[in-house]
């Protein structure tokens, strides 16, 4: 069944889009991430303009992360105070990201920036995750316990001022690195159309030493607010959020996420991380190949002014 998307301006098959939502939702539920880094390229592949894809995926992720937040909230597994502090940085980052997005679009370098960001970010994060999880698996094979390094937890930024005690997470850190992480997440999210959960979770664990049980809930809370903000900002500045496309995606997404979460619980932590790492790395490599191989069509069109 074809449906005409009012903002994207093309007809798409409802079932194809729904199935994409379902599949990405499954993965996002399984790994506790938003899945924007998969959804945005899929939409572009479907023929939807990169700008509309990025803006619309932010709406989709807002939905899937809110369903996660509700679940973690019931279990009291999220640190509202930490989320609020991250958000302060996140708001500024999102606004800066949307501004840069608009500017790059007029320059004609938006597609390149999105592709390059994917290559660099996904390539490095995916690579790190794969090596880390392979090591963990080898360690557990050889019989040694898989330890999470928590010793020597005082790094240089523990000397920074503006220290604050986060009760739920039981940490005492400066707000400067917290704001910086929040800013980065908001910025990256607005430009790449990703929630950044797969970046935020490791950063909270390794840099801020936030306990694992509150990390995912807190990360989802942050994703929720930055993505909802990005939705509003993209609507105001670029008028690019396709509400119909977003609705089909999110209905599929939230359903898939439920099944994914169940599948994820049956898997071991390091296996899960390896799988996610391979996935992240694969998407990064795919973008790299597209940038390096000679394109089939080296010309592209963009409308400056004219009818809708």
């Amino acid at each position: 069944m074809e449906i005409y998307l009012p903002i994207a301006g093309i007809p798409v098959n409802v079932f194809v889009v729904f199935a994409m939502g379902l599949a990405v939702g499954f993965i996002s539920g399984m790994f506790g991430i938003g899945g924007g880094f998969l959804m945005t390229p899929l939409l572009i592949f479907l023929g939807i303009g990169p700008a509309v894809a990025v803006a619309t995926v932010s709406t989709h992720i807002a939905a899937s992360s809110f369903s996660g937040v509700v679940t973690y909230w019931r279990r009291r597994a999220l640190d509202l105070q930490l989320a609020a502090m991250l958000l302060l940085g996140g708001f500024v980052g999102t606004a800066a990201g949307v501004w840069l997005f608009t500017w790059l679009r007029t320059l004609g370098q938006l597609d390149l920036t999105i592709s390059l960001s994917y290559v660099i970010l996904l390539g490095s994060v995916g690579g790190l995750m794969v090596t880390e999880s392979v090591r963990a698996i080898l360690r557990s094979r050889s019989g040694k316990p898989a330890e999470i390094r928590r010793g020597g937890s005082h790094t240089w930024f523990h000397g920074l001022p503006l220290k604050l005690r986060f009760k739920q997470s039981r940490i005492y850190v400066s707000t400067i690195p917290v704001w910086t992480i929040g800013f980065l997440m908001g910025f990256v999210g607005a430009i790449m159309g990703i929630g950044g959960g797969f970046l935020l979770v490791p950063m909270l664990i390794y840099f801020l030493r936030v306990p694992t049980n509150v990390v995912i809930g807190t990360s989802m809370m942050l994703t929720l607010v930055t993505m909802a903000t990005a939705t509003v900002l993209h609507s105001v500045t670029n008028h690019l959020v396709d509400v119909i496309l977003a609705l089909i995606l999110m209905v599929g997404g939230v359903m898939g996420a439920q099944f994914g979460a169940r599948a994820g619980q049956r898997m071991r932590g390091e296996r899960l991380r390896l799988l996610l790492g391979v996935l992240v790395l694969a998407v990064g490599v795919r973008f790299f190949v597209d940038l390096v191989l000679p394109p089939e069509e080296i010309y592209s069109i963009r409308m400056l002014e004219g009818p809708q």
Partner: protein, 260 residues
């Protein structure tokens, strides 16, 4: 299509009954419909252009018969064509050209190949065919069309053709009798909204003998129109509503799939 045929028959009867005009030949034309509505199920449309060639009694019939060229133009738009180049191993947008106020949609429908209908200089003067249509580019403060084999111009035509927005069809105008003609105007799903003009030219023995005009509108209707207009006119409200919809969907999912 059936309705179109009936209408066609009506026009023909009306035209046959009418007294001939003073001009030697006259083009009588109509469209199967004058508005195309974009609804949620819109996947493109086809309009039928039809009519007859009216000839007064004094005019001798042309031995070579008639030829018709119809040029359909969508609302004008200004756009940039960018070319990628390899910079330190990766492909980036480098050079670009701006096409100023060119048709967003352009279809040249003819009864035979244009080269076979008229001499080239006439075809060029009347801008018949995609190759001969003026596509002004921004050159400094001025606009001008460039040579036909300019790579940017060729790329522009190729990209428009790939989206089925620029069409050239020889043989699209068919004569059902010596004076009765019809043609199908293909409207792709991605066609922009606005007023489209149809310019008709009638040729006999390589000379222009009559011309005519038609127009139709493409507009988003109902829900599509509402969504598209709110997104542009009320960006903030639209964004807030989208975010609210996302929260509602997420909350519903969390409640429906509750496990504890």
């Amino acid at each position: 299509m059936r309705a179109a045929r009936l209408a066609l028959a009506g026009v023909v009867l009306a035209a046959l009954g009418a007294t001939p005009a003073a001009a030697a030949e006259k083009l009588v034309s109509s469209l199967s419909r004058h508005t195309v509505k974009i609804t949620p199920s819109f996947t493109g449309a086809e309009l039928v252009l039809f009519g007859i060639v009216e000839r007064d009694a004094e005019t001798p019939p042309h031995r070579g018969g008639y030829d018709i060229v119809a040029t359909v133009k969508g609302p004008p738009e200004t756009l940039v064509v960018r070319r990628k180049e390899r910079v330190v191993g990766i492909w980036v947008n480098a050079d670009s050209r701006t096409f100023v106020q060119v048709p967003s949609y352009l279809a040249t429908l003819s009864s035979r190949p244009i080269e076979a209908i008229v001499p080239l200089d006439v075809a060029r003067r009347l801008q018949l065919g995609l190759r001969r249509t003026l596509l002004p580019q921004q050159i400094g403060p001025d606009t001008a069309d460039v040579v036909r084999d300019d790579p940017f111009r060729a790329a522009f035509l190729r990209l428009k053709d790939a989206r089925k927005l620029y069409v050239e069809e020889k043989g699209a105008v068919t004569f059902l009798s010596s004076i009765l003609y019809s043609a199908t105007i293909p409207i792709p799903a991605g066609a922009p909204t606005g007023t489209y003009t149809v310019d008709l030219k009638l040729f006999a023995d390589g000379a222009l003998v009559a011309s005519g005009n038609e127009a139709f509108d493409i507009s988003k209707e109902g829900f599509e129109q509402f969504v598209a207009e709110s997104a542009v006119d009320h960006g903030l409200l639209y964004g807030l509503a989208s975010a609210a919809m996302a929260l509602l969907t997420g909350w519903l999912a969390a409640v429906m799939f509750r496990r504890d």
